[in-house]
Symmetry: C2
Subunit: 282 residues, 2 copies
């Protein structure tokens, strides 16, 4: 199977429409039909059920969709990492570290300092991304290491090393009745009708349904809380540098958050190893 065929199949499987998929791929529809047909012939199975009203995935097609995405990620990662390795000699960034924007700020700073102090440390690019995107960046090679937060992020498929475990706090507007309490229970803050939890975008950019306001980054979040339009439950480290008008109240019964450093398995890059070593001895 060629990656071209996999790309074609994924496009059709996602659009469930040959015409739109072809458009997205920048080719005409007939060659796309032929390519999928050939794929099905060689695999000896139907991948798509052509109904009169669009297309549907067969069981085998669903399997291929999942596997093909993983395979295409791996191919992309190969290309990106090779390109990066090629630049390494020229002094440009040798490693890319992905971290969730607005999280682990202090830890990240200490980590970068500690690693930079090592002899022979490589240049580290830090990519700040939205929640849950770090794993994607690692999979497709845009990053070489990432800071993940269990249980929010899925660490499946990566090597990890635990860095930090912490409780969570509720971030509330300063004047809120609960803000003077020594601690609150999770149920007390999740169900507040006047202060709903905000809705974060899904990986595809759309927002889940619900009552809370839509937020895209940390700035929007703190601003909304300060305005008394939302509240949030975040790891303890998120209370450092809290802006004026916000209060943090511990939530002892919220799940503890574990920050881990993660990297693709079998990564033999010395730079990644160095970063991991620096992180674990912090």
């Amino acid at each position: 199977m060629e990656t071209r065929e996999l790309r074609y199949f994924v496009a059709v499987a996602e659009e469930l429409h040959f015409g739109r998929a072809a458009q997205r791929l920048g080719i005409a529809q007939p060659p796309l039909s032929r390519a999928i047909g050939g794929l099905e012939r060689r695999l000896g199975t139907l991948l798509l059920e052509r109904g009169s009203r669009g297309v549907a995935l067969t069981a085998a097609g669903a399997v291929l969709l999942r596997e093909a995405r993983a395979a295409l990620d791996a191919v992309e990662a190969a290309e990106r990492r090779t390109r990066r390795a090629a630049l390494a000699g020229t002094g440009r960034p040798a490693v890319v570290l992905a971290a969730k924007a607005g999280a682990s700020g202090e830890l990240l700073a200490k980590l970068l300092d500690a690693y930079a102090a090592e002899p022979g440390a490589a240049a580290v690019d830090v990519v700040l991304c939205g929640p849950g995107e770090q794993a994607r960046l690692l999979s497709d090679g845009r990053a070489d290491v990432a800071l993940l937060h269990r249980p929010f992020d899925d660490t499946a498929g990566f090597d990890t090393e635990v860095l930090l475990s912490e409780g969570q706090v509720a971030i509330l507007p300063a004047g809120h009745p609960l803000s003077t309490r020594p601690h609150v229970r999770l149920a007390e803050v999740t169900g507040l009708p006047d202060l709903p939890l905000p809705r974060w975008p899904r990986p595809d950019g759309s927002f889940p349904d619900g009552p809370g306001p839509q937020v895209r980054d940390h700035t929007q979040l703190t601003q909304l809380i300060a305005l008394g339009r939302a509240c949030a439950v975040v790891p303890e480290s998120g209370r450092t540098g809290l802006r004026e008008g916000l209060t943090a109240v511990p939530v002892p019964d919220a799940p503890r958050v574990t920050t881990v450093i993660a990297w693709p398995p079998h990564s033999r890059s010395t730079a990644v190893a160095g970063l991991v070593r620096a992180a674990t001895v912090l």
Copy 2:
């Protein structure tokens, strides 16, 4: 990047010789040279150092070799798993479980029984393989689940669930002086000049250097021990059904062996999930 190019590159990187690589690929040498050249041009970097005496990998080439192997595994896995999924409806094996030959016999039997008793259980194919090969089978899709043994096997890159933790025992010929001891220390059995530890084949089929005899499977191993030509340190479960003439002596200071069930991350197959569930509630 097309998988064809990756396959070509891996062949050259492994052979370090364009002619032999071309032969292995079943094509002539010039198209291979051109393909690699094109890859290098598009990546904007040299992958291979052409010396007058053969070829050597550049740093970027080494990165691509590692990543390309992973990517090709993923593509192969996509193809194999799709083919298998296509057969699922026809009643043929829906899941393939890989286990090291001669290990975990009892556990494996109990697991298969427990799963088969579940309603809607799929047909399970068991593939017995050489030591350390299970991970490979999982990576390239020849298997969907595997039993691995830490610390021998590398579980990096898979989801796992611990099933069993056990100590190790030394397998000795019945008449050996140490065989009557209640227990022995690891150092006492690893350094015996008269009973060297056997050498197992590496994944590529070659054997490491050393004094011990070469073994390829469990039968050879037990036979050699019975002949008084070798000894072995194996997990406790390996003592069940021990043949005549062999004795097992506990080795308390040997590392404990953890048997885990492993599967590719993000595997959503219900059959795999059922097997894992059956295994964890054993």
